[in-house]
Symmetry: C2
DNA sequence: TGAAGGGTTGACGCAGCGTCAGGGTCAAGC
DNA sequence: GCTTGACCCTGACGCTGCGTCAACCCTTCA
């Protein structure tokens, strides 16, 4: 007769595991000796080894009991199920590995590489750290909603950065929001540039985003995000409204200008 | 301002998950509105998306907080750790798949194929179901202790089955233990055959198992197993003792026979 | 006789939420 | 003004397979 420790050692498991199998009814509780110790016979050893064999193969404990009593065809079927479940699990993990492989650096986190490249360009033309982070967060919102489309939009955005007006705009905005003046006079200049750019885009008919325009939520969120990150943005929006434009990222004409 | 449901929908997660992130401190609790509802700004949306991006990549929640604030080198290092952890997990599951692939049928469960083949042969020569199962359980005990050696021993065991005496022995034993007579007269015949076989083996010097002989536990367990599976085995052991042999599976001479 | 090395039950911990239970709130239609 | 359905709230258990205390008892050996 074996003690629980000897039984466990023979089967290569821990004592705790054996007790657990008792608890879940996988292994019957044996008789106790005079001092209350569990005493095991050879049958228990065999049962335990068979249980461990299945458990090592990845079979959930809850199924092992049935499996040990199943006939050949039920057994084969169950094995099939378990195997395909394992395959799914492996695939899930493989996907995870691919995903983290793409998380090489900070910006590409939650963003496609194209957008990360755009943000790098922004940094290059002199946008401040805060500015780039704000842009990044905005694009995260966009990418979450239109993960496919956002990639298509990037070439045009990158091209915009060749426009000296745009470069000047980002530099001014960077300086304004990196400073701590509550009412920087350059804010008016920024608004002027933005209005001019909007005017050009409108004239060129580039202001239509397609069906995405119908979903206001991302745009509203981006506006809100900008204000949350710096309340002075509110002032900038006001200046834009004075110039006949609403919004921050998806500008709309408030009033048609006189001819 | 978004409700928790809108926030969750935007990021593609469940409401419960968001609340969980609050609980573990990953996402800060937002302000409440007049009726106690949580109200989220755009910043929360961005945070949540970034959290999910890492979580989807298999990063444990407990590390996501640090990771979102880490610099590029710490980030890369952490990503390395997580990736190698994922690799280990995948390998574990692959191993499981291999294992269950080998569990095609009942007997090979916890036994190498060689032993399963031996059991099939046993069935072929007319051993009863009970008999084969008893043998199987015995070999499970042996295979658990000497997984390598057991394979080497099988050819000799299979060869034994060509011996008509052995075949007869298994048939008699099958009949005895499939019946319900408490004192089957054929038991003496079985004992005679076993004694004769032991004598032959002893004479041929085949009774040494090598160093394995020093470990009594498996042998004792097999004897116990036999008795547990049918108490009448005890009688058989007694008959063997009368014939000068001890034990059931690893027989030893009790007394040297007179010349 | 005391210490070491077993054994006993009971209970919490882990990871990441899912899923009740038992409420309150909001918007819309009657 | 009332109902209905869709949301929101907190609190708590469940799942998987044990690991790891805690607090205590039993046996054995120096």
């Amino acid at each position: 007769m074996l003690t629980i420790g000897q039984l466990a050692a023979y089967a290569g498991v821990t004592v705790r595991a054996v007790r657990h199998y008792h608890q879940v009814g996988l292994l019957p509780e044996p008789e106790r000796d005079a001092s209350g110790y569990r005493r095991y016979g050879a049958t228990a050893v065999v049962s335990l080894i068979r249980i461990r064999t299945l458990a090592n193969a990845g079979v959930p404990l809850s199924q092992i009991g049935d499996l040990l009593e199943a006939d050949a065809s039920d057994f084969a079927e169950a094995v099939q199920r378990i195997d395909s479940h394992l395959r799914d699990e492996i695939e899930r993990l493989e996907t995870s590995r691919k995903q983290i492989a793409e998380l090489t650096a900070g910006d590409s986190l939650a963003l496609p590489l194209e957008v990360a490249a755009y943000l790098d360009r922004l940094r290059d033309i002199g946008a401040s750290k805060r500015m780039v982070e704000a842009e990044r967060d905005g694009w995260i919102l966009v990418a979450a909603r239109w993960p496919e489309r956002v990639i298509e939009w990037m070439p045009a955005k990158v091209a915009e950065l060749d426009n000296p007006q745009v470069v000047r705009l980002y530099r001014i905005l960077s300086e304004i929001f990196d400073g701590d003046a509550d009412d920087d006079p350059r804010m008016a200049e920024a608004a002027d540039i933005m209005a001019a750019l909007a005017e050009q885009a409108h004239a060129a008919g580039e202001m239509n985003l397609g069906e995405e325009a119908h979903d206001d939520l991302p745009h509203d969120l981006i506006d809100a995000l900008a204000v949350e990150s710096d309340p002075r943005v509110e002032r900038l929006l006001e200046l834009m409204r004075e110039r006949g434009w609403s919004g921050w990222n998806r500008m709309e004409r408030l009033v048609e200008p006189p001819d």
